[in-house]
């Protein structure tokens, strides 16, 4: 089949291309099972080498190639032509400054990530036998969903609250905090909840639910945000995620 791509482009180095513009490319011999990333590569490798995008693993694990494809945030390597049809529109994710073509400035996104103390804290002495800390299977299960996050930014850049206010930490940072807040081995939950209780923390979330369908890892993002909100309101992380109600 033939597929027409309409791609949002800009190149700050070329005077005539500094303002964003649309460009069309047509590809033949496209299979329904082709990934969008493969087709963007075909455009780059066969037609126009200047088309610029980030990508690496090509199977939805590294999180490099988040783009807005037919109006929805996707990883280009994890969406197939059969799910999109013969006209495919590709533009950069929204809410972050566009550098060139499909490449946006990820620094504001990673700055928000770093705000929530995205690292394990436990200053207690290590187990005397020199072995691992213990954790039950159900305690491990409570935060399993949020460990899947690959920091691709699909959720944060699908969020109208983030579009309206770039100071909002955004869903991805909250998911990262969730991963530690509900880990029984971690001790910095209260500090993280303080950070997330600030005006640009979780309360900017208006439960619009754009983040959950945007997640290429099928994390229940909105649910995780809700659990963090409840933990702040209750002042404890205990009893919020029931073992029999694990996502």
């Amino acid at each position: 089949m033939d597929v027409t791509f309409k791609i949002r482009r800009r190149n700050p180095d070329v005077p005539a291309q500094q303002k964003p513009y649309w460009q069309e490319f047509t590809l033949s011999d496209v299979e329904p099972t082709d990934r969008v990333l493969e087709l963007l590569h075909r455009i780059k490798w066969e037609q126009d080498g200047s088309l610029s995008l980030r990508r690496s693993c090509a199977h939805g694990v590294c999180g490099s190639d988040a783009m807005r494809i037919n109006g929805v945030n996707r990883l280009a390597c994890k969406i197939l032509v059969r799910d999109l049809g013969e006209k495919i529109q590709v533009e950069p994710i929204l809410g972050l400054p566009v550098i060139k073509d499909l490449i946006v400035d990820m620094e504001p996104f990673f700055d928000h990530y770093k705000q929530v103390m995205p690292y394990f804290v436990n200053d207690e002495p290590l187990p005397a036998d020199g072995r691992e800390r213990l954790q039950t299977q159900s305690d491990r299960e409570r935060f399993d969903d949020s460990t899947k996050c690959i920091l691709c930014a699909c959720c944060t850049t699908a969020c109208p609250s983030f579009w309206a206010n770039e100071q909002y930490v955004g869903p991805a940072a909250i998911v990262q905090a969730h991963r530690f807040v509900f880990d029984t081995r971690d001790q910095a939950g209260a500090e993280r909840l303080d950070v997330l209780g600030e005006p640009n923390g979780v309360w900017r979330c208006r439960t619009i639910f754009n983040c959950t369908p945007a997640c290429p890892r099928d994390i229940e993002v909105t649910k995780a945000i809700g659990e963090v909100k409840l933990a702040i309101r209750k002042g404890t992380t205990v009893g919020i995620i029931q073992p029999d109600a694990i996502h």
């Binding site: 070329v14 099972t33 090509a58 939805g60 490099s64 994890k78 394990f120 436990n122 020199g130 491990r140």
Partner: protein, 614 residues
């Protein structure tokens, strides 16, 4: 050119690089990590099944069994003292990862859960052992995330999206590296006392690969061009179970959980090739078996792939035949819980649900056993005698310690990068305290800048994409699982022609500075071409079959002539190099030699090179 000065420069932010950064900085060194990708994009994050360590949480296990499996898996080309360090340090490293917060799956006794993996046994091959510590089927993702998180906590300096393109060597000492800031196109010099290469592999030399697009062997190619020999490059692992045609990895953990390989006749064919370990024989054995089934006309629909079957009814039938307890039987929920990413890949890319249908798989280019030679402290060595290049370090896939020998065991890549990343980090912290800065030469970076201008201004007819596709095809056809003198010579000839076009007829479209991915991809192609060439040349010179290197014209292993590491040298002429290989670097056989010294009878020696049977 902007100059950045740090005690230790870490090139690459995957598992090995971040581990080294963490331990060097904990040891007091001022560390900078320079990476062409954001750290969390690194390929360590795609490792699925587990990290091997003899914790013994579910089965009796000891590091010496892990050592034995690693040496046997490597078809005795493994350096035995290095394998011993690998297996012993693995236990500490995994426990430390848990202490850093890594969310391993748990046993009912609240300990780190472990699963079976190919080639991992207890009591020297007696039976398969649960050794692979796992976090669902995203163990590498959790290792990468955990290490990056800890680096943030320890305030390690990161230069994200800075791509290293050359190393600076002054009188035999590595004094730093040259990098391009991708966002601006500007060149920077990183002046370091210690310079640690952790740049990963080069699976993108082949057309069907599990490897990320970023895996273009930059660090190895840079070192090669600057006089560091490449060790054991002929050994490149094809993982038996890549998704048909796409190459995306399906973890060995599927077979670890009971999955079996089935041919077009419905036979579990691995019973014929490896009567004891069957589907969990080492990867080289299983990949060859799939090719042999294909040649015999027994691939599915005769199309060159076989089925990987994890359906509960199939798995439980074989479990019952093997006399396993009913409590070991699996159901759909077990698969959903233990292999969620695998299910997601198959459902997304194939429209196949592995709970109800078998997965179509074929061997996929996966892992470089060879690379930059190092000692067990991750110091780069430059000759058969083990002479160290001061200031240069390497670990992970880009390095060759050698713990993997001629074939790596599953899970040992993660073990390698945490163990030798950690050792290298610690070593660098000491090293930088005891040495002075090597002054930079006046023209540092000049040669590589000129090379980039050549590529940028190329006005020929050959697009990088076309040359890369041709390279990948000839490597797949001629330097793949099975090799002969003829195929290898064909590969060498094809690569020579492609290199000539790369240097005389290249053209790229993008002439701009900001994020010029056209330019960077073209330069990366040059790296791949060099490493492909070295691989083919080492392979044509090793006239035996060992591990992942299968010569149809020399089918036997030849310990008399080839129980040795190959070293391939580049003469420094970038556009038309002469590559020389030698086989004079001895394999460390110290564990076997200790057995001889203890007077243990030949047939009782565990570490004597012998025929591999699984």
């Amino acid at each position: 050119m902007q100059i950045h000065k740090h005690d230790a420069i870490i090139i690459g932010a995957g598992g090995a690089g971040l581990m080294a950064a963490l331990y060097a900085s904990k040891g007091g060194a001022d560390v900078a990590v320079v990476s062409k990708l954001y750290p969390t994009r690194s390929h360590t994050g795609t490792a699925q099944g587990g990290i091997g360590a003899a914790l013994g949480n579910l089965d009796d296990d000891k590091p010496i069994y892990h050592t034995y499996d690693t040496i046997k898996g490597g078809d005795y080309l493994t350096d035995q003292h290095a394998a011993k360090i690998l297996a012993e340090n693995a236990v500490d490293a995994v426990i430390e990862l848990e202490h850093m917060g890594l969310p391993f799956d748990r046993t009912s006794a609240k300990r780190i859960s472990q699963r079976r993996f190919g080639g991992h046994t207890r009591e020297f091959g007696k039976e398969l052992v649960r050794r692979a510590c796992h976090a669902a089927d995203r163990t590498g993702h959790m290792i990468l995330q955990t290490l990056y998180q800890q680096c943030i906590k320890n305030q390690v300096a990161f230069f994200d999206e800075f791509q290293v393109v050359d190393m600076i060597i002054v009188d035999g000492v590595c004094a730093g590296v040259v990098a391009i800031e991708l966002g601006t196109g500007e060149f920077h010099i990183f002046h370091g006392k210690a310079n640690f290469f952790a740049t990963g592999g080069w699976g993108r030399c082949w057309s069907v690969t599990s490897n990320a697009h970023a895996l273009t062997g930059d660090g190895a190619a840079i070192a090669l061009r600057r006089g560091v020999p490449m060790q054991d490059m002929e050994f490149f692992q094809f993982h038996p179970t890549g998704i048909y045609r796409m190459g995306i990895l399906i973890t060995e953990g599927v077979r670890g959980e009971g999955g079996v390989l089935i041919n077009d006749r419905g036979e579990r064919f691995m019973e014929r090739y490896a009567p004891s370990a069957k589907d969990l024989a080492s990867r080289d054995v299983v990949s060859r078996a799939i090719y042999l089934e294909t040649r015999a006309g027994r691939s599915i629909k005769n199309r060159g792939y076989v089925h990987l079957d994890i359906r509960p009814q199939t798995v439980n039938r074989y479990f019952a035949e093997e006399g396993k307890d009913r409590s070991d039987f699996i159901d759909g929920a077990t698969i959903e819980r233990k292999l969620p990413d695998i299910l997601d890949f198959c459902r997304t890319y194939l429209g196949v649900d592995p709970v109800h249908e078998p997965m179509p798989v074929q061997p996929t280019a996966h892992y470089a056993m060879g690379g930059i030679p190092t000692n067990v402290e991750a110091e780069v060595v430059i000759d058969a005698a083990g002479t160290v290049m001061p200031g240069a370090f390497a670990a992970g896939e880009t390095a060759c310690v050698s713990v993997h020998g001629a074939n790596r065991l599953g899970t040992n890549s993660l073990v390698d990068l945490v163990v030798f990343g950690r050792r290298g980090g610690m070593r660098m912290a000491d090293y930088v305290k005891g040495v002075d800065w090597t002054p930079l030469p006046k023209d540092a970076g000049g040669e590589i800048q000129a090379e980039f201008e050549r590529i940028r201004n190329g006005s020929g007819k050959s697009r990088p994409g076309e040359l890369r596709a041709k390279m990948q095809q000839t490597m797949m056809d001629n330097v793949g699982v099975f090799r002969t003198q003829e195929t290898l010579q064909q590969g060498i000839d094809d690569l020579a022609e492609l290199r000539e076009r790369f240097y005389t007829d290249l053209r790229i479209d993008d002439k701009s500075r900001v994020f010029n991915t056209d330019l960077m991809e073209a330069w990366e192609l040059g790296c791949l071409l060099d490493l492909a060439d070295v691989t083919a040349r080492a392979a044509i010179d090793r006239k035996e079959s060992r591990g992942a290197h299968s010569r149809e014209d020399f089918q036997q292993r030849d310990d008399e002539n080839y129980l040795a590491h190959s070293l391939a040298r580049h003469d420094g002429n970038w556009s038309a190099p002469s590559i020389q290989t030698s086989f004079d670097k001895k394999v460390d056989l110290s564990l076997w030699e200790a057995e001889i010294a203890q007077g243990i009878a030949d047939d009782q020696q565990k570490f004597r090179p012998k025929e591999r049977v699984y």
